[in-house]
Subunit: 351 residues, 2 copies
Amino acid sequence: MPREQQAHEGAAPVRVALLGAGTVGAAVAQRLMDRADLFAQRVGAPLELTGIAVRDLGRPRDLSGILPGLLTDDPESLVDQVDVVVEVMGGIQPARGLIERALRGGADVVTANKQLLAQHGSELEALAAGAGRRVEFEAAVVAAVPVMRTVRDALAGDEIRSISGIINGSTNYILDMVARQGMPFQEAVRQAGDLGYLEADPTEDLEGLDAAAKIVLLARAAWGVDVGLDDVQREGISGLTDADFESARGTGQVIKLIASAWRSGPASGSASDSAAGPVSGPRIEVAVRPTLVAADHPFGQTREGTNMVIIEAESAGSLRLSGAGAGGDETASAVLGDLINVARSRVAARD
Amino acid sequence: MPREQQAHEGAAPVRVALLGAGTVGAAVAQRLMDRADLFAQRVGAPLELTGIAVRDLGRPRDLSGILPGLLTDDPESLVDQVDVVVEVMGGIQPARGLIERALRGGADVVTANKQLLAQHGSELEALAAGAGRRVEFEAAVVAAVPVMRTVRDALAGDEIRSISGIINGSTNYILDMVARQGMPFQEAVRQAGDLGYLEADPTEDLEGLDAAAKIVLLARAAWGVDVGLDDVQREGISGLTDADFESARGTGQVIKLIASAWRSGPASGSASDSAAGPVSGPRIEVAVRPTLVAADHPFGQTREGTNMVIIEAESAGSLRLSGAGAGGDETASAVLGDLINVARSRVAARD
């Protein structure tokens, strides 16, 4: 490594608080230790994990052996003393209150909490903007597949027409088992549950609530509109029957749970928008539904727990992104990517 | 559009100079006009195109009708008066000198110039860092497919193992015509030339020079190492014969021009790296070569001018990105995405 990349030596650390020590939290903590030197080089200063807030200090967990002194059940004090708060505890409260507290106190926030963002993301982003801080959440949508970043940053100079995708791995696993292995539908649901692929409350996956939260976040980022969960035309897969799958198979098609968002109003650059008076945003439709797709379509070829998103934009044309949409390590990759970018900006702003 | 998004009204414009008015330059200029309101909302201030530098003012071009007053053959004066310079003229000089002048003068730079970056990108990035400015170049690698952003930002918290891809659309078009249409190889080369798919100097495409420049830029961003064009193990497609294609077909395979970069040394987080003493960077290999792939592999399924990149990372697993890898509008999308992000940062830094 060239000497100039050692500029972080002696630099004041960026202090990081971790809220939650579940599968994702444990992976984040582990990588912060394993990759400490690498991250310090990339950020220009060391990342210092000052504490990990958990609900129950007494519960045995993998982390206690390696990081015994870092665990705390006092998240407020932790949040008040850091530069960046990484929230991977999930749920609405206390996550929401802690994120608000962090932003008001001058910290940036990285979160993977899709339901919190889908319900209260607009308020949190407004609070962050007012405080001159950031809330980053690549990990909330399709883990490490960089769809948020693509929609918000890469296509910032373009106009997105539509976003569609397989963005729930558990239901895709079930549908793929039925389509390709010929497994009866109810047995595939049971197997996905046994393998731990379904959320604690399986209706999150099976009724499309998880996919709905993600497509809402993507639609907001793509068009700057305030769509919410109630705007989603939502149908899950639990009403499907083996006869539906038989009938799809007979026509060379497969059933996939497709989440989509599309512009049904005029493009921003079009004539009607240039008229005087208040500019009206594009009209956006958002849906999650079981959909017949050709077996050789990219969606039809998306197997097991893999996720795939297709973004159509005026100038860029059709972009496809795919990869694992869940998993502790995969989600940690996205959380850490956001953390490094936020920390880099904080260090750059010191000068 | 909610009222708070009209905050750009009255904000001082971000001044933009465009160097070059070829296919990409014309598309960028056109979109800056068409999407002026949208971009002003996204940036928080209007983007003001102050001029377009061209070599020959007398040459008739599409733009002269719409933007007659903006054309100039004095790029230096133009560069000295703006906040962001967009360089889409191509070639080494005068592009290099103008970019250096822009950075020294306090402007940020957006460029699509892959050969300039492959040859002198490290110096330009060092110059930018020293001046506290940015050089952005998503458009230099696979047009609007956000591979640079994925490698550099999305995976900033991860460790990339390898990057491989079909990153030259012209050669993929040729190889696909031979594989799927059974067209004789030399005829496919001729047709690609007739359709304007090949660079003015076709050896850029056919000998893998274009792909080599792109994979060098990706390798640098992925591992922070100073690999150059000379480090690329490069073999083009011009030595292929119809017999090679026949033999591939016989085994259910197709020939693709695959660019790849991979880590052959230890990972940064591994034990040998934690040892005391100067940290040594990973050993990186870079290659461009015709490669046999299974016809049903994602690379085998990549048709016509489509590009596809597969990134393997320790935590994220395998990510796939695909889309059009060339074209005026597609490249303009990436240029404008970088421009909006750079302009946003400048406006944010005003406060």
